[in-house]
C-alpha cells in the first residue's frame, strides 16, 4: 500500500494504482477522455493532467502515472484548468461540431467537458475533417469526422475482443482510426467499440436518429440469449426497446456484450409477435379468448393417455417453479427441458464424478488462470462474452490456451493458443487419453479419488498412442496438454453446451469431469470446470429440477411416445422442436400423432403452426424474476416494456392454469422466489429485492466437489466418408430466437454450409454459391461459405434456421457422412 495526498486528502491505495484510480477511490473527479476502466492505460488525450509536487515544472497525465509514496497531487488549479481548456480547444479544431444531428449529443464526453470548461470560443483555426462515413455494415456507423483519436476502440478491439479491427493510420494531422486498408468494418459486430467511444464517431446504426439519450428509460435486466447472464440495460421509449445502453457497473460482464446482446434485441419489438391466443377450429388456427384457450389446455393436461410438458430453458426461475407446481397439480410426471437432452445429460455426467451439476468457479476467476482448456472451438460462438474473458486471460495474463476441437476458430488464433485438431465427434477420446496419460505418467492427483483401478482397466483402449491414430491428434500433444493442465496453479476447463451439440453429452460431461479431477482442477481455490448451458437459464432449469419424475418420460422419450400415439397431449413452452431438436422427422410425427398439442411461444414457429392451441408468451424484456447463469449467478430480470396485445408472461399463464386446475395461484415473483429458495439447499435464503446489481452466486465463488469418483467413459463416434458434416452454433445466432431479430439476421441472413478453402477450391465452389449437401438421405439446399476454419473434408452447418431440414439429417449423431455438389 502507498500513502499519498490528493487535493489535501490522505489516500492509501495499492501500489499498482495510477493517480487517476487513486483519485477516483478518494471520490475526486479528474476528467478523462481516453481512459476506460477495463483497458490498459494509454495516455492519449491529455485531459487528465494534474500537478505533482515532486515533479514540478510540467503537468503529469494522471491516468498513466503510477502512485508513489508521499506523492502530493493537485487535481485542479487555475493553471490546470487553462491547460485542459487548451487541450479541448485543440480537439475542437478538427472535430465537426454537429451536436444537433449527432446521436451522442447528451451523453458525449467531449460535449460534457466542453461545457464544464466553458470552451465557447476557439483561439485556433484549422481544417475540419471531411472523411466519408463508413456505412458498409448494418450495425456500426463510423463517422471519423467526429473522432478525437482517444484510441479506446483500437484498444478494446485488441485487448478484450481480440479481433483487432482498428488501428491508427497516418501521422500528425492526418492521423485517423481505420480498418484494414480502410475498407470498412468486417468483424464480429459485438459493438464494444461503440459502447466505449466517448464521442459520436462510432454509433449503433439500428438506433440512428431514434431518440435522445435523456429520453430513454433505463431498465437493468439480464440478456435472454445465452448462459452468460450478461447485464443488459434496456433503453426504453414509447414501450419499445430502442437500444441497449452501456453499463459496466452491474453484473459480471463488465459492460462487454456480443452482437446478440447488443444488436439482437429487436425481436422483442417485432410485429410478428403473437398477440392473441389461437385455437384450431376446422383445421385452421383462429384467434380466441384467453379463457377458452386456457380451458382447452387445462383439459388437455388431464388427458387420460397422459401428458408431457417440454419447456425451453429461457424461462425465469420463478416460472420453472410454477411449471413444476403446475405439473404436480395436473398429475403430469413427464416434465423435461432442452429436448436434445444435452446440457441436462452433461450435468448428470459431471454429477457422477464430482457430485455437482454446475460450474465450480465464476467467470472473473478465469481471467487470471494460467492454463485454459476449451473443449470445442465453438465455445466462443456459444458464449462470446465468457470468450472475451478468455481473450483477456491469454492476452493480458499470458495464460496458455489449449483448444480441443474439430475445427479452428476464434480461440485458435489467439497468441499462446495450441489447437488439438481432432477428427469430428472424437473429443471424448482425446479427453480420455489425457486422463490416461496423467495416470500413466504419475502426474495425476489421486488422493481421495475413488475408482482409479477400475478406471485404469476400463480405459486401456484410450492409451494416447492409440487415440492418436483414431483422432489425428499426436500422442505427444495429448500428453503435453494433459501435463500442462495438471501442472497449472489455476487451470480451467471450459465446456459450452447447447442443442446442436447433443450427441455424447453424458460422455463429454464424464470425461471433462474426470480430467478436472485428475488434473487437480476440482480442488483449486479458484476456477476449475465450467459447464455452460446454451440458454439464459439452462442452469436454473437444472438447479430447480425441471426434470421427469421417476415414472415420467424425458423429452426424447416423450416425443418417441407421442410419435407412436401413446401420449395424449404435449405442452411445449418456449421451444421450437421442429427446428432445433435432433431427429426432426420424429418430432413431426410426434406433433401429428399426439392427441393434443399446445405451444406457448413468442412467434408462430413451425412447431406452433402445427399446434391445436397456441398461447402468446412474453419475452425476457417483459418479465420480472431471476435467471441463473452458467457460473451460478442469480440475477434480476426486470420488465422494461409491456407485452404486445394480449400476450402474457409465462408466469401469468402458469398462474391462470393453476387456477383452472383448482390449485392455489401464486402471489408475486418475490413470494415465489422465497419459496423456491427455501426448497433448494444450495440457493441463498434471501429475498428478491436483496439481489444486488452484481447478483448472488449460489454455493459461493468456489464450489467444492462433493464426490471424487472416476467413472470410465466410452469413446465418441465419428463417421467415414469424403466429407463429414457437423452442426453447431454460429456466433451471430443463439437458438432459433435470433432468427426473428434484425441484428443477427443482418449478419447471417440465411442458413449456410461452411467448407474449408481446400475443399472449396477442389469442388470449384466460391463463397456465396448455392450448393446441395446430401446427407442421411436428405438433400439440403444451402449457401456456401468458404473459410479458413475448417480442415479438409469437414463441413459445418449452423443449426439455427427453420426449414433447412438440418435436424432431419442429425438423429443423435455428432457427425454424418455427406456429399457436396454445386447447384
Amino acid at each position: 500500500m502507498v500513502n499519498l495526498t490528493i487535493d489535501g486528502k490522505q489516500v492509501t491505495v495499492p501500489k499498482t494504482y495510477t493517480i487517476y484510480e487513486a483519485a477516483r477511490e478518494a471520490g475526486i473527479d479528474i476528467p478523462v477522455l481516453c481512459y476506460a476502466k477495463k483497458l490498459l492505460p494509454f495516455g492519449a488525450c491529455r485531459v487528465c493532467l494534474v500537478e505533482v509536487e515532486q515533479m514540478k515544472g510540467r503537468l503529469i497525465p494522471s491516468c498513466t502515472t503510477p502512485v508513489t509514496e508521499g506523492m502530493v497531487v493537485t487535481t485542479t488549479s487555475e493553471e490546470i484548468r487553462k491547460v485542459r481548456k487548451t487541450v479541448l480547444e485543440f480537439l475542437l479544431v478538427n472535430h465537426v461540431v454537429e451536436c444537433p444531428v449527432c446521436d451522442k449529443g447528451g451523453e458525449c464526453e467531449l460535449q460534457d467537458l466542453t461545457y464544464e470548461y466553458e470552451v465557447v470560443t476557439n483561439r485556433f483555426v484549422g481544417e475540419k475533417f471531411h472523411y466519408p462515413t463508413d456505412e458498409n455494415n448494418p450495425f456500426i456507423e463510423r463517422n471519423m469526422n467526429r473522432c478525437v483519436l482517444c484510441g479506446r476502440c483500437v484498444r478494446v478491439c485488441d485487448e478484450i475482443v481480440a479481433h483487432g479491427s482498428y488501428s491508427f493510420v497516418e501521422r500528425g494531422f492526418e492521423t485517423k482510426i481505420a480498418t484494414a486498408f480502410d475498407r470498412g468494418l468486417h468483424c464480429e459486430f459485438c459493438g464494444q467499440c461503440v459502447s466505449l467511444c466517448p464521442v459520436g464517431a462510432l454509433l449503433p446504426r439500428p438506433f440512428k436518429f431514434k431518440a435522445r439519450p435523456w429520453q430513454l428509460k433505463e431498465v437493468d435486466t439480464v440478456c435472454g440469449y445465452c448462459g452468460n447472464g450478461c447485464t443488459l440495460t434496456l433503453g426504453v421509449k414509447d414501450n419499445q426497446v430502442q437500444t441497449i445502453r452501456f453499463n459496466d457497473k452491474n453484473g459480471v460482464n463488465d459492460g462487454n456484450l456480443c452482437i446478440r446482446g447488443r444488436f439482437g434485441y429487436s425481436y422483442v419489438n417485432s410485429d410478428q409477435r403473437l398477440t392473441r391466443p389461437l385455437v384450431r377450429k376446422g383445421g385452421e388456427l383462429v384467434e380466441t379468448s384467453w379463457d377458452e384457450a386456457l380451458e382447452a389446455v387445462a383439459n388437455g393436461l388431464k388427458d387420460s393417455k397422459g401428458a408431457g410438458i417440454i419447456t425451453g430453458a429461457r424461462l425465469t426461475n420463478e416460472e420453472f417453479f410454477l411449471l413444476k407446481r403446475l405439473a404436480d397439480a395436473a398429475g403430469v410426471t413427464s416434465l423435461d427441458h432442452s429436448g436434445g437432452e444435452c446440457y441436462k445429460v452433461l450435468t448428470e455426467g459431471v454429477k457422477d464424478v464430482l457430485g455437482l451439476t454446475a460450474s465450480t468457479g465464476t467467470f472473473p476467476q478465469v481471467e487470471t488462470a494460467d492454463v485454459i482448456l476449451s473443449i470445442r472451438s465453438d465455445f466462443y460462438e456459444t458464449h462470446p462474452v465468457f470468450g472475451m474473458v478468455v481473450n483477456q486471460a491469454v492476452k493480458r495474463h499470458e495464460a496458455k490456451l489449449l483448444v480441443l476441437a474439430d475445427k479452428k476458430g476464434k480461440f485458435t488464433k489467439l497468441p499462446n493458443a495450441e489447437t488439438l485438431l481432432t477428427r469430428p465427434g472424437l473429443e471424448v477420446d482425446v479427453l480420455n487419453a489425457m486422463c490416461v496419460a496423467l495416470l500413466e505418467g504419475g502426474k495425476a492427483r489421486t488422493e481421495g479419488v475413488s475408482g482409479i483401478d477400475e478406471f485404469k482397466q476400463a480405459m486401456a483402449e484410450f492409451a494416447p498412442a492409440r487415440v492418436a491414430e483414431r483422432t489425428g491428434v499426436s500422442a505427444e500433444a495429448i500428453v503435453a496438454a494433459a501435463e500442462r493442465l495438471a501442472e497449472a496453479q489455476k487451470g480451467a476447463i471450459l465446456l459450452g453446451y447447447g442443442l446442436p451439440y447433443t450427441p455424447a453429452s453424458r460422455e463429454l460431461g464424464l470425461a471433462a469431469a474426470n480430467l478436472a479431477l485428475l488434473a487437480g482442477l476440482a480442488d483449486q481455490e479458484e476456477a476449475g470446470l465450467y459447464v455452460c448451458g446454451e440458454k439464459a437459464n439452462s442452469q436454473g432449469a437444472i438447479d430447480l429440477g425441471v426434470l421427469p419424475k421417476e415414472d415420467g418420460l424425458g423429452a426424447q422419450a416423450m416425443l418417441a411416445a407421442a410419435a407412436e400415439g401413446k401420449l395424449g397431449s404435449l405442452y411445449i413452452i418456449g421451444e421450437d422442436p421442429l427446428t432445433t431438436y435432433p431427429d426432426g422427422d420424429r418430432v413431426e410425427k410426434a406433433l401429428a400423432n399426439a392427441g393434443f398439442v399446445v405451444v406457448q411461444d413468442l412467434f408462430l414457429s413451425p412447431t406452433a403452426a402445427k399446434a391445436d392451441v397456441v398461447l402468446p408468451a412474453a419475452s425476457f424484456a417483459e418479465k420480472d424474476g431471476t435467471f441463473t447463469n452458467a457460473e451460478r449467478r442469480i440475477q434480476r430480470v426486470r420488465p422494461g416494456i409491456t407485452s404486445p396485445g394480449e400476450a402474457r408472461t409465462d408466469y401469468a399463464i402458469f398462474g391462470a392454469l393453476l387456477e383452472k386446475l383448482g390449485a392455489q395461484a401464486p402471489a408475486g415473483p418475490a413470494e415465489v422466489f422465497g419459496e423456491l429458495c427455501a426448497g433448494l439447499a444450495d440457493y441463498p435464503q434471501i429475498g428478491l429485492d436483496e439481489i444486488g446489481p452484481q447478483g448472488v452466486v449460489w454455493g459461493g465463488e468456489k464450489l467444492a466437489p462433493k464426490t471424487r469418483n472416476l467413472v470410465a467413459v466410452g469413446g465418441g463416434k465419428s463417421a467415414e466418408g469424403r466429407f463429414l458434416l457437423t452442426t453447431g452454433s454460429s456466433l451471430y445466432h443463439s437458438g432459433s430466437t435470433t432468427t426473428h431479430a434484425d441484428g443477427p439476421l443482418a449478419a447471417v441472413p440465411e442458413p449456410y454450409v461452411e467448407l474449408g478453402r481446400e475443399d472449396a477450391a477442389e469442388l470449384g465452389i466460391k463463397d456465396g454459391d448455392s450448393v446441395t449437401v446430401k446427407a442421411g438421405g436428405v438433400d439440403l439446399k444451402l449457401k456456401a461459405k468458404v473459410g479458413a476454419r475448417l480442415p479438409k473434408g469437414l463441413l459445418f452447418a449452423p443449426s439455427h434456421f427453420a426449414g433447412t431440414g438440418l435436424n432431419r439429417v442429425f438423429r443423435g449423431e455428432a457427425v454424418v457422412a455427406a456429399e457436396v455438389a454445386k447447384g
Binding site: 451536436c99 444537433p100 444531428v101 449529443g105 440512428k208 431514434k210
Partner: protein, 133 residues
Amino acid sequence: MIKEFIQGLSITFKHLLPGHSTTVQYPKVKLQPSERFRGLHRLVPTQDREKCVACYLCPTVCPAKCITVESAENEKGEKYPKVYQIDLLRCIFCGYCVEACPVEAIEMTGNYELANYHRDDFVFDKQRLLNTK
C-alpha cells in the same frame, strides 16, 4: 378635501375627451405587435426542406411539454423531423423553444389570433407550422 376630489376627477374627465381614448376598434382595427412579441410559432423552411434537424432540444426544454418531435433519416441520410407538432392548448408562449434551437429553425410570429372551434385545430403539425407567415 373637495379640492383634491376635483383635482383627481379632472384627470379622469380629461381622458374621456376625444383623442385620449386607448381603446382599439378590434377587429376592424388591429394593432401591430412589437418585434419581440411571442405569438404563433413558425418553422423556418430552407430550399428543399425544413431547417429543423430534429435535435430534440425544444421538446426537452418546453415547460408545458407541448412539442412532439420524431426524428428520422431522409433519403440523403440527413436527420429530419418526421413529426413536428405543437399543441397550442398546452403552449404557454414562453419562447424557450426559440431560445433553445441551435439552428434557428423555429421562430415566433406576431400572429395572436388563435381562437378556434375544435380542439384538434389547435394542434399545429409540421406543414401548418411551415406555412405560418
